[in-house]
Symmetry: C2
Subunit: 199 residues, 2 copies
């Protein structure tokens, strides 16, 4: 669907016009390559096996990125909210089938741009290339920290970290998904919570 200027969040405009100092022409050029996709709650933006052909800015809504193991258990790698960019990182850069699913937790409005278009645009607008290189760098740091956390903390400690660092997610994310993010079963999360509330 074509992007209607009125659909775009102020945050998106601030990001490019205010933050990255895009000229109006550059911004229009960018917009002309973006499509608006509406993903209803519970629907998939990407399924494992498909190729992640575009990056999407979350204009509204939130998603979960997860894998499914051999025992059919889901493991959530991360949640994404407004102002995040989503794609299956490995699939996007290799153009090989993804191993992860990206599913809308709430109705989502996504501003999408294809890898092909973005690659060209990045050559025309170096600021854009730098912006995504920065994003990539931060994403690596976040992944390494994540790995460190998963390796060194107990589920309870990870839960407490989540409460401390991202309390807002409990307003928007169902418990079962929090459990899948912590890699425990829903009854364990319930127990853990009641154990903590008694202290």
């Amino acid at each position: 669907m074509e992007v209607n200027r009125s659909d775009i969040s102020q945050t998106f405009i601030d990001l490019f016009i205010g933050g990255l100092k895009f000229t109006d022409e550059e911004f229009e050029l960018l917009l002309s390559h973006m499509q608006l996709e509406l993903i209803p709650r519970k629907c998939f933006y990407l399924k494992a096996g498909n190729i992640s052909k575009q990056k999407a800015y979350i204009n509204k809504g939130c998603t979960r990125t997860f894998t499914v193991d051999e025992k059919a258990h889901e493991h959530i790698m991360f949640f994404s909210f407004e102002d995040w960019w989503i794609a299956d990182f490995e699939s996007y850069y290799t153009q090989q089938p993804a191993r992860q699913y990206i599913q809308a937790i709430e109705d989502c409005e996504l501003l999408c741009i294809s890898k092909c278009d973005l690659d060209k645009l990045e050559e025309q607008i170096p600021k854009l290339k730098l912006f995504f290189q920065e994003k990539k760098q931060k994403m690596i740091f976040a992944t390494l920290n994540n790995l460190r956390e998963v390796k060194s903390l107990t589920p309870e400690e990870r839960y407490l970290n989540l409460v401390k660092k991202h309390p807002y997610i409990f307003q928007r994310i169902p418990q079962q998904y929090i459990a899948a993010y912590l890699d425990i079963e829903p009854p364990s999360l319930s127990r853990l919570r009641s154990r903590l509330s008694k202290k």
Copy 2:
């Protein structure tokens, strides 16, 4: 210590001369910026709190990169062997104090180059820049796969994966470090192994 041409492994020469098609001048230029560091077994190449100021090519030996949690338990992020490049990724790129330790498991010969020199060299030799960009990309993929594994597999499954994919490490890495890599205690690894050998 200055790098003596005779110290360098054939693999290193093949990498740059054969693989990356460096001219002799480029190769000499690279070598002129590298230093040989000898790290004896059990000594640290990097300690948490220090800044990772250089990249090092493992000419000989192997290392472990690990963190220490609040309960003083060590968690090994990965092992590195000959022909790998080591640094604390986040610290190297941000020049902030590292949160990880890098310790020699065997006596190591490292070919080191400072971030400052490498940044300059990469401008002079674009092939070098591309080479490290590729490395970085692969490192991200590996980290994401690692995270997926840690989140979705049991220690037993991770052990079996290790046996299947990297059987050689059992020749060189003590059990206690394998346990710290799997994020279990040594007695658990022993139990797991005896359980498996009975099947």
